[in-house]
């Protein structure tokens, strides 16, 4: 079951909206927000350096905006890939963007680390559809490998 979620978006209003929706979806979720890819990365680096630090919670899901200044979503993913925190291996990353450009969607599809593409604004319906089916699938996969 999902416990910890990280939101990365430069737009604070979108962060707010997404956070509220996530809370509505499941009020017990731990949600952490970052307004840039950099700050999120340094958080993960800290986790890498001090794996036993209690404060750092390993996210089950990262929702990542694409269009951000300085470091966009894809650039973040590249950096994220370089981290070796074994704890992060199970983390699923979703692109959460207002872009409907086919270019972005295809790029996200081809990104190994990206599990899906969700168009903004985030709604409870979208979350349910996406996450339950994806996490359900993972269970199926798990059964298959057994």
């Amino acid at each position: 079951m999902i416990k910890n979620v990280i939101l990365i978006d430069d737009n604070k209003i979108d962060l707010f909206v997404s956070q509220k929706i996530l809370e509505k979806y499941n009020s017990k979720l731990h949600i952490k927000t970052f307004t840039s890819g950099f700050s999120a990365l340094s958080y993960f680096k800290l986790m890498e350096l001090k794996p036993h630090l209690e404060v750092c919670v390993v996210p089950d899901i990262i929702f990542l905006d694409i269009n951000m200044p300085q470091m966009n979503g894809f650039e973040f993913l590249k950096e994220f890939e370089k981290l070796n925190a074994s704890k992060l291996k199970k983390t699923k990353t979703y692109m959460l963007s207002s872009s409907t450009s086919a270019k972005d969607i295809i790029k996200a599809k081809n990104e190994a680390l990206c599990s899906g593409y969700i168009s903004k604004p985030l709604t409870v319906d979208k979350l349910k559809k996406r996450i339950t089916s994806d996490f359900h699938l993972r269970k199926l996969d798990f059964f298959c490998t057994l």
């Binding site: 207002s98 450009s101 086919a102 903004k120």
Partner: protein, 608 residues
């Protein structure tokens, strides 16, 4: 009758000056008091009076000597002195002023007393008008020229007046010089004169430029026709088509001198003349400026020194050969080649070549235009277009972000406990935002279209339909519409997938947007029919929605045009995009509609 009058004149005056009187001349004889005693038919015709009425009348044209005009005073002074008067007299008839080129000859008796005057007139203005034959007439004459089987033969007197034509009346009554290329007038005149004096057949080659730009060569054969006194009465002038030559820029200037001046002074275009082997014989100022060689340096070289690459040089040689062999049928567009300046600097030139035959000697005329400026502008334009497309793309996408944020916030507000008034406002805000979002979507789509024109891929149309339905799934009214789909694709074909999908999507979107609501009598329906032929595909999207009135149908493809802004949540971009795509794919779109009954779009796209 005219002949009689001439005989009469000849009988009475064995004077030489009367030889100038032709059958079609306007002549009158007045006594010393100015009363008309004789008048030629032509003159009567001009005055619009019968001979009987004219004779005995005073000559209206010159009677106004009492008139204070300087000219009349001078006229009377001259003729009273017994001298010849020449001048142009105005004469008003039916409110039109005619100008008569008039000669008044005094006739004296043995004692030297003036007994009468012979007055010769020529209507200058009308003649001037007939001189300016309309284009149509010229074309007619040219046509009769060109008719090989019916060779035209003109009978012409020494002055060049056409007195008979073998095939109908084309040109009858006017001068031969008015129907032939004026450039050859002097030459033809010389030839006609020589036939009259030498009594031998003479031939001359002329060209005619038709308004369509074709230059036709004709051979004029001038042969004498003798009277029984063994002197030449008139000449027969036969015109025979020689051959056609496709017009080139130079032949638009019939005057050789003019052409020469133009050739020499043109500075923008480089004109280079070469002999039949491509050796440069002359060039103009423009070529000197463009290529930087002196005339002395370049003459004697092959034309290929002006070109940079080996490929261009061999192309040029092939080009010269082809032109020479087939110069009347060898048509091609201007070539873009790489020219090279004296110092070795290359620059793009537009190159065209014409071949002429001057007697047995052939020569080439090459036109070269330095297009580096144009090239640069084209490049800049391309870049600007790209920038603009990117700008459109970026702004359309950037525009989306605030819309989606607002939508998210609204979703949150809807979850809050709010009263009905606020709820109403929120709903209105919601639909406003929806419009903005669709608009930015379509703008983004439009920018994608201009970006992706060239990409081709194998198309499976049912996949496109599938994709479209998935995209439009969430649209209002979508589920209430009955779709009737008939796809008849026999083979895979190649086209631009992106364009085709958005074309289809927009048409379906349009059909859904303009559907009528479901009721007991109405079932909204959209029929989609796709058929493939060997050379084209056809797509029909027909709905039974609100339809378009006749008045509006011409406007539906305009940017930001909406038939009914209250009813529909459109933004006026959809059909504009459709039209653009159809144009980009060089297809055709037809629309038929009846208000209240529905609309049918038929798209045909060529495939290879």
């Amino acid at each position: 009758m005219g002949q009689d009058f001439k005989q009469e004149l000849l009988k009475r005056y064995k004077n030489n000056h009367l030889l100038v009187v032709g059958e079609n001349s306007m002549v009158s004889i007045t006594d010393r008091y100015g009363r008309i005693t004789h008048a030629s038919d032509c003159f009567c015709e001009f005055m619009e009076l019968t001979k009987e009425k004219i004779i005995g009348e005073s000559l209206k044209i010159i009677e106004s000597h009492l008139h204070s005009g300087e000219q009349y005073k001078e006229l009377w002074k001259t003729i009273k002195k017994g001298m010849v008067w020449k001048g142009i007299l105005p004469y008003e008839k039916n409110k039109i002023t005619y100008y008569l080129d008039t000669v008044i000859l005094p006739v004296k008796d043995e004692r030297g007393v003036i007994i009468e005057h012979i007055v010769l007139y020529q209507d200058v203005l009308s003649q001037w008008k007939t001189n300016r034959l309309s284009k149509h007439d010229q074309e007619q004459v040219l046509k009769s020229f060109s008719h090989d089987a019916n060779q035209t033969i003109y009978s012409v007197n020494r002055e060049g007046d056409i007195i008979n034509v073998n095939n109908g009346i084309d040109g009858l009554g006017i001068s031969i010089y008015e129907i032939l290329n004026p450039r050859y007038n002097n030459e033809i005149k010389k030839h006609i004169d020589s036939v009259f004096t030498n009594k031998r057949v003479s031939k001359v080659k002329i060209t005619e430029l038709s308004p369509s730009g074709t230059n036709t060569f004709f051979t004029l054969t001038i042969s004498p026709v003798f009277n029984n006194k063994e002197s030449v009465e008139y000449v027969k002038l036969s015109v025979k088509k020689y051959f056609d030559v496709i017009n080139t820029a130079t032949e638009k200037k019939p005057n050789l001198d003019k052409y020469h001046t133009v050739f020499k002074s043109t500075q923008k275009e480089s004109l280079v003349l070469t002999d039949k082997d491509g050796i440069i014989t002359d060039w103009n100022k423009g070529a000197e400026i463009a290529f930087g060689y002196n005339k002395e340096e370049v003459i004697g070289n092959h034309l290929e020194v002006l070109f940079s690459t080996q490929k261009d040089k061999s192309n040029l040689r092939r080009f010269l050969r082809g032109k020479k062999l087939y110069y009347d049928s060898y048509k091609e567009k201007n070539l873009i080649m790489t020219g090279v300046k004296k110092g070795g600097k290359a620059f793009p030139v537009e190159f065209s070549l014409s071949y002429y035959q001057n007697g047995k000697k052939g020569f080439f005329c090459a036109m070269l235009l330095d297009i580096s400026k144009r090239r640069n502008l084209e490049k800049k334009l391309k870049q600007k277009k790209k920038d603009l497309e990117l700008f459109l793309y970026r702004s359309a996408h950037d525009l989306k972000a605030p819309f989606t944020s607002a939508e998210g916030l609204l979703n949150l507000i809807k979850e809050e406990p709010i009263n009905d008034k606020v709820k109403l406002l929120v709903n209105m805000l919601d639909s406003t935002l929806e419009r903005g979002r669709v608009l930015s979507d379509n703008l983004a789509l439009a920018s994608v279209i201009s970006n992706k024109k060239e990409e081709l891929s194998a198309i499976d149309f049912s996949k496109i339909v599938e994709g479209t339905f998935q995209t439009l799934n969430g649209m209002k009214n979508f589920s209430s519409i009955q779709f009737q789909i008939d796809i008849n694709q026999t083979n895979i074909f190649f086209s631009n997938k992106e364009l085709l999908s958005s074309l289809f999507q927009n048409l379906i979107q349009n059909a859904i947007s303009y559907s009528k609501p479901v009721s007991s009598e109405h079932m909204p329906r959209v029929r989609i029919q796709f058929s493939q032929y060997s050379d084209r595909i056809e797509l029909i999207v027909e709905d039974n929605g609100v339809g378009i009135s006749k008045k509006d149908i011409s406007k539906i493809f305009n940017l930001y045009y909406r038939v009914n802004s209250d009813l529909v949540n459109g933004n006026g971009l959809g059909l504009y995009i459709v039209k653009n795509i159809v144009e980009d794919l060089s297809g055709d779109i037809k629309v038929s509609s009846e208000l209240g009954k529905g609309t049918c779009f038929e798209v045909a796209l060529p495939i290879t």
